[in-house]
Symmetry: C2
């Protein structure tokens, strides 16, 4: 495709791999040969003071910005705010991001992760449910090892949407001396039984699929039906009714097939949710999905978090939330903001407008570019 | 239990049965020997002008008020506003309510309904999925036959929460000359693809349970695992995070069983949701659940509804909605109110406060008693 100037402004990025010989988890287990993928945008300066770490959301990857190739249909999820001259300016900052442990997209060629689908060096077979239960604190400890491997002792900022926001909070209270600024987006600094219960609901279809076999499906094939149904729930929960109304209305999935006429006839919104979930399931691993759920449920674990965690934070804070969010209701973010302000921190909070509920934290962040740029310069 | 006055103010009610030799459904099928349960409170006056019909919610029954026996632990769901001297005053009005077709609680001894668990007179066996697909319009047509059997030609009012609100709207546009006032609560006058998609999610666990057998389980036993999981989703979706925080916090289900330590260890909110769903599943039928979902998804069917339906309404309108409602977001109710006002109707709309989201339309309606009383007197 010819471009007017003969040039392109696409930022081409490549996946790297970070390895650790072993990790001790919050629950006291050891994982050997930990490998996670990561990517970076921009250049680390001489005194290594310009690092900005980006944490991905539940079903995301370290692909926060740029493209792997010009021909990629879409760039990384926060490309609107990360790049040369953008809000998180890669001409100025060394921006980097890593795939979490138990990353959902274990079968995506651009993802490197360690989890139940990985080979257990002790047996030569996939771990399945014998993989240690991990949580957000473990994700952060892998990232900390990556940060240290780069020679960085203090991060200019850490940011991330949703689960990436939980990691951001976890960083700021676990390693307050290493974090100058945090920007958790569509997230909150405390665990909620409501979210714990919803995560249980997300897991149900995978657990109910007979092909799941208590996690031992690596020879027989994964529980695809359950995984598709689970990812449908995630998509719907993370979205908003305005999206459904604007995208689908109450049209039928197929002309002439009235949903009132037969059990199998569906509405367009039902077919679309399934189609999307099926595409995502193709690169996902069902056990990784369950481990991610457990990791998020246990954000509230005894590892020094929640209200006590917030008290340890020393960073400057920018919080963005979405009023239509049903995964992290805005009131949770506002509560975190109040607590952080109450302990004397510099806290800015703003609302993201959009039609996508929780997902506005990914899709509709562009209008906050100048706010973010200013926050990073303060 | 001794009472001070030696008297009781419990309203004792009894279940009655209404039968129709046959019903032609909106989809053009015939159901023979239709039977539904109903109950009434108060006395029909001489000119039969004081009838108020109450429609129940998705997982409810015709037990809107009173008790079957003094020893019942709880009265009907809207007992706070229905009874002698209450907002819907049974000293003044003849209040009555019926179980819908395909009522969820088909195995409850106090429920009479016709649906896939009923015996097909043509085969002598339960219908299963050969039972005709029905929708809200069919529920209303059964009620209309009941109303006519009582000699009532015009209802003083029709009211109901959630699905009962949909029936109320359907009544008002299908039979505008028969309805003087409507009070749909936590409901809206149009279908939404968002709700259609959520109803699909509700159905998933039942459909995934191998014991469901495409609905042919009446000899082998019903898909209880799936039904419990489905009812968990319904409960959670209809509730609110404030309820979860106040009731459970992030406590563990069992002391000493840290959810971070083992896959099977859970949080209290997870165990509570399951326990509640298990109790409800004991009197429910899985096929009835799926038929109810289909009925609600098809509220938007070609039978003369939606925006076109609203235009036919002639009744006075009182709409109550809950700001934390995730099943029928308040904005949907407000949109219905604007449309109805726009066509010159007398419309009052008010917000129900509470910690239970959608369920505040059932649990937290008492503070609106005087508003309801005044509406019924206008």
């Amino acid at each position: 495709m010819a471009m007017e100037s003969g040039q392109t402004d696409t930022m081409i990025v490549e996946k790297r791999v970070f390895s650790m010989p072993e990790l001790t988890t919050l629950s006291g287990k050891t994982i050997k040969n930990v490998r996670v993928g990561w990517e970076c945008y921009g250049t680390l300066n001489a005194d290594k003071s310009n690092g900005i770490l980006i944490n991905h959301y539940f079903s995301g990857t370290s692909h926060a910005a740029g493209k792997y190739a010009e021909s990629d249909p879409l760039p990384g999820y926060w490309d609107a705010i990360i790049g040369p001259g953008k809000a998180i300016d890669t001409n100025k900052y060394f921006v980097f991001s890593s795939d979490t442990l138990v990353n959902l997209n274990a079968r995506d060629k651009n993802v490197v992760t360690t989890g139940p689908a990985s080979i257990d060096p002790a047996t030569g077979k996939p771990y399945g449910l014998s993989f240690p239960i991990v949580t957000i604190a473990d994700f952060v400890n892998v990232e900390k090892a990556l940060v240290e491997s780069l020679g960085i002792t203090k991060l200019h900022a850490i940011a991330g949407p949703s689960m990436g926001g939980l990691q951001t909070f976890q960083w700021a209270w676990a390693y307050p001396e290493m974090v100058e600024r945090i920007m958790p987006v569509i997230s909150a600094g405390d665990a909620s039984p409501w979210l714990i219960a919803w995560l249980n609901v997300w897991a149900t279809p995978v657990r109910m699929d007979p092909a799941w076999k208590n996690g031992n499906y690596y020879e027989s094939g994964q529980p695809l039906t359950g995984l598709v149904e689970s990812l449908k729930v995630v998509s719907l929960h993370a979205n908003h009714w305005k999206w459904a109304e604007k995208s689908f209305g109450v049209s039928w999935a197929e002309a002439g097939k009235d949903p009132l006429a037969a059990h199998e006839n569906r509405f367009k919104v039902e077919a679309a949710l399934e189609g999307d979930a099926r595409m995502r399931a193709a690169v996902a691993d069902a056990n990784h999905f369950l481990y991610l759920i457990k990791a998020n449920q246990n954000f509230a674990s005894q590892g020094g978090i929640g209200i006590e965690g917030l008290k340890k934070i020393k960073a400057k804070v920018l919080l963005l939330h979405s009023p239509g969010d049903q995964v992290f209701p805005g009131e949770w973010t506002r509560t975190s903001a109040l607590k952080l302000k109450g302990q004397g921190l510099e806290v800015e909070i703003a609302e993201i407008e959009g039609d996508f509920g929780h997902l506005d934290g990914v899709f509709s962040i562009a209008p906050h570019a100048e706010r973010i740029r200013a926050f990073l310069s303060r």
